[in-house]
């Protein structure tokens, strides 16, 4: 231990971060004043982007290191409270910060599977893993597998799974970074990705885990402030109480009332009827192909002729000409377009989804499937939490086993603050839309609607379908991401708070990406290079190799991101299922069951991971089209995101069966298990903590 004692160190940290928080708030206040004095919005966006990235870079530079223990596990002296904050930031990604409230807005009760899954998993971490991994105290998760089960084979499978899960996850994060940067600064998506990437790299590149830890604490503070301010404000506006989490029950009741009213409202039914008609029309046209192709085209041509003959206004003629120009080039393209039209219209023919009702569905079978999918998502997110290497790694960084346990508590506490606010935000936003937006006049839409409608049609579209001049709910299409991004404006806050929210989203995405990239680079440099390829490598060389790999991995991830590989939430969920299937059974049995053998672990990891990947590759449409796999019927109707629901049990079973068939582990391995089970054993000469 260095000259500074742990308690002095803790006091110092508290001082630094209090100054930092005060400084950050001052910065926001100054920008707010500047806005009042007429600073253009674009520059406020730039200020936030540049200032926060410089800040993270600054922490990175100050924590630069070439020491192995500092680089991989932050010197193992991160106090529980701060490790909790860092884990919180590491944990909460763009999907949590921006996507979560939107998902809840769109899917109501069923979306809560993510809220539960992404918090409840910490119970497994606390009770089954964190204290034991801390006692073991090496650098990575494959380290533990290698030591417990012996040999490089298990370690290699661990390396493969760690990289696979982290890589899928990091792609989703970089995607989020690009999205936020481009939206708030007007830069192109591709450039946004690389600006964000620079921010990620500066930090993890220079100081490894040490720099990442201290940056993540800073990022947590920004993201939680940014999340809370608008929600609290919106709550005051609607209920007069600044604690949205306590009072949104009454808003939920009002929303449920409004849902009933909107379901039976004749105007709403009229609009839904129009969409039903459009869906039927599209279906009829598809059915009549290929004849309908020529007929439809002729209809358009006739219309133009007719308009021209009647000397209609130039605007109408232009519009008609444009539809003819956009008309599909051949019957095959027409079929695709009409099918898309049909699906879009079909999606808008139903009444509003009841927000508070669990598992709505048209019949008992649909409701049961919805329930199993809910349970499936909860299961996979929880076991994935307790298996994702970038999270488990964080518990290597505390000074002791006891601190590791306390640190899981703080981790979940800090995560909980955001996750129990998100459902409140979703309900408050929904109330705003149902009560205030619906029924307002098209000539006089609220300012936030006008702004966001202009920014991006995928976030918000409102068209007066039945031409009555009033907004019906069925005329609005909302993209989930808008909920968090637009809340400051809905609540009537100045633009500077919107900038703050963007900075918060960026902090969430960057911090997670940092942790993930570090995990991947460590798996390659520490596990693969040092432990398997070149055990004689000097420490400086190992750290340098890790840094180079970090750069390479980041560039590859950015390249994959630029291909836009599908839905963020699915990618994130897939990472959880993969990690759960590959790691969870082997880790837990390795600690709690001395009889678990090397071959059991190998077979179990391969079987769990294999089954999980098989299910995803054969049920997720994007993968089916990428890899040319044959689609299969979903087992028990479970969505591909929940593939871990099959992978985890199969992994457990396989490890148990194969372990029983192979000879018990040797004396040393059994002693290792005892060693990790007790924080201290007097007379225990075994040292596993990597100290070099």
């Amino acid at each position: 231990m260095s000259a500074v004692s742990q308690s002095q160190f803790k006091a110092q940290l508290k001082k630094y971060y209090s100054f930092y928080t005060g400084g950050f708030i001052t910065f926001v206040v100054l920008l707010a004043i500047a806005e009042q004095m007429g600073m253009p919005r674009k520059y406020i966006g730039y200020c936030f982007l540049v200032a926060t990235i410089l800040l993270y870079a600054g922490i990175g530079v100050m924590s630069r290191t070439l020491d192995v223990a500092e680089y991989y596990v932050a010197g193992r002296r991160v106090p529980a409270l701060f490790n909790g904050m860092a884990t919180g930031a590491d944990w909460m990604s763009a999907a949590s910060f921006i996507g979560m409230a939107g998902t809840l807005y769109l899917s109501g009760f069923d979306g809560l599977a993510f809220v539960m899954g992404w918090t409840g998993g910490y119970c497994l971490v606390a009770v089954l893993l964190a204290p034991y991994l801390r006692k073991f105290g090496q650098f990575t998760i494959p380290d533990f597998l290698g030591a417990r089960y012996g040999g490089n084979f298990v370690r290699s499978i661990g390396i493969f799974a760690a990289i696979l899960a982290s890589f899928v996850y990091v792609v989703a994060q970089i995607y989020g970074v690009g999205l936020i940067t481009s939206r708030f600064t007007g830069l192109e998506f591709g450039i946004g990705v690389f600006v964000g990437l620079a921010g990620i790299l500066v930090c993890s590149f220079l100081g490894g885990m040490k720099a990442v830890t201290w940056t993540q604490v800073a990022q947590y503070i920004i993201l939680i402030i940014a999340y809370m301010i608008p929600v609290v404000w919106l709550s005051i506006k609607q209920t007069g109480v600044p604690l949205p989490q306590l009072v949104y029950g009454q808003q939920l009741e009002k929303v449920t009332e409004l849902e009933k009213k909107l379901t039976n409202d004749p105007k709403e039914q009229e609009v839904r009827g129009i969409f039903k008609q459009r869906a039927d029309d599209a279906a009829a046209k598809i059915k009549a192909l290929p004849d309908s192709y020529g007929a439809e085209k002729k209809k358009l041509e006739d219309k133009i002729a007719e308009l021209t003959a009647a000397s209609a206004p130039a605007k109408d003629i232009e519009a008609a000409q444009k539809s003819l120009k956009d008309f599909p080039a051949d019957p095959k393209a027409a079929e695709a377009k009409w099918k898309a039209d049909q699906a879009a219209a079909n999606g808008r023919t139903g009444p509003p989804r009841p927000h508070a009702t669990p598992y709505p569905g048209k019949d008992e079978k649909a409701r049961d499937t919805a329930m199993w999918n809910f349970i499936g998502v909860v299961f996979c997110m929880m076991f994935g939490t307790a298996a994702l290497p970038h999270i488990l790694m964080r518990y290597y960084t505390t000074p002791s086993v006891h601190e590791a346990r306390v640190s899981v508590f703080w981790s979940l506490f800090f995560i909980f603050l955001l996750y129990f606010t998100a459902p409140a935000l979703a309900v408050l936003a929904k109330y705003e839309v149902y009560a205030n937006l619906v029924g307002s006049q098209f000539a006089n839409l609220p300012a936030w609607v006008q702004n966001w409608r202009a920014v991006d049609a995928s976030l918000l579209t409102i068209v007066d379908v039945n031409k009555d001049g009033l907004v019906q709910l069925a005329e609005i299409v909302i993209g989930g991401d808008i909920i968090v991004l637009a809340t400051p404006e809905i609540a009537g806050l100045p633009y500077v708070i919107s900038g703050l929210v963007a900075a918060g989203g960026l902090a969430a995405a960057l911090s997670t990406a940092d942790g993930l990239l570090l995990t991947i680079a460590n798996a390659l440099s520490h596990d693969l290079y040092y432990k398997i390829i070149n055990p004689d490598a000097s420490t400086a060389r190992r750290v340098t190799i890790s840094k180079i790999l970090l750069l390479v991995v980041a560039l590859v991830a950015a390249y994959v991101t630029s291909l836009k590989p599908g839905n963020i939430l699915f990618l994130v969920g897939a990472a959880f299922s993969i990690a759960a299937s590959a790691f969870f059974p082997a880790l837990v049995l390795g600690i709690f069951w001395k009889r678990a053998t090397k071959w059991g672990a190998i077979a179990g990891m391969v079987a769990g991971l294999g089954l999980c990947l098989y299910y995803m590759l054969h049920t997720y449409p994007t993968f089916i089209s990428w890899f040319g796999t044959t689609p299969i019927t979903k087992w028990f109707g479970l969505e591909p995101i929940s593939a871990g629901m099959f992978g985890v049990p199969v992994g457990f079973l396989t490890i148990i069966i194969v372990s029983m068939l192979t000879p018990a582990p040797d004396q040393d391995t059994q002693q290792l298990v005892d060693h990790v089970r007790y924080p201290v054993i007097k007379g225990d000469s075994m040292v596993t903590t990597g100290a070099d």
């Binding site: 539960m116 119970c123 009770v127 669990p358 006891h402 979940l412 909980f416 129990f420 007790y678 007379g683």
Partner: protein, 88 residues
């Protein structure tokens, strides 16, 4: 390295508390989710009970489980002579 009776006792108590806490965890998570439709008819300060549990109640219980485990184990560490010193 020799495990004493005290050590064995420590591990047994640890397993017991782990099992109890994970049982609570299982009930508030999966049993709740299974019966969510039935629980939705109960009103809890404005929320349907299942909605409240999924959005807040179970989360608070998770935090409590982990906090209790850390405290309980600290005591157990000290009682069974396996606790770490303040400065490691």
């Amino acid at each position: 390295m020799q495990l004493t009776e005290k050590h064995v006792d420590y591990w047994r108590k640890n397993l017991r508390i782990s099992a109890i806490l994970l049982l609570i965890w299982f009930v508030v998570t999966y049993v709740m989710a299974f019966y969510a439709r039935e629980l939705a008819t109960i009103n809890f300060f404005g929320w349907p009970l299942s909605f409240y549990m999924a959005a807040q109640g179970s989360l608070i219980i998770y935090v409590a489980i982990i906090g209790y485990y850390a405290m309980y184990m600290r005591k157990l560490d000290v009682e069974h002579d396996v606790a770490e010193g303040e400065e490691e």
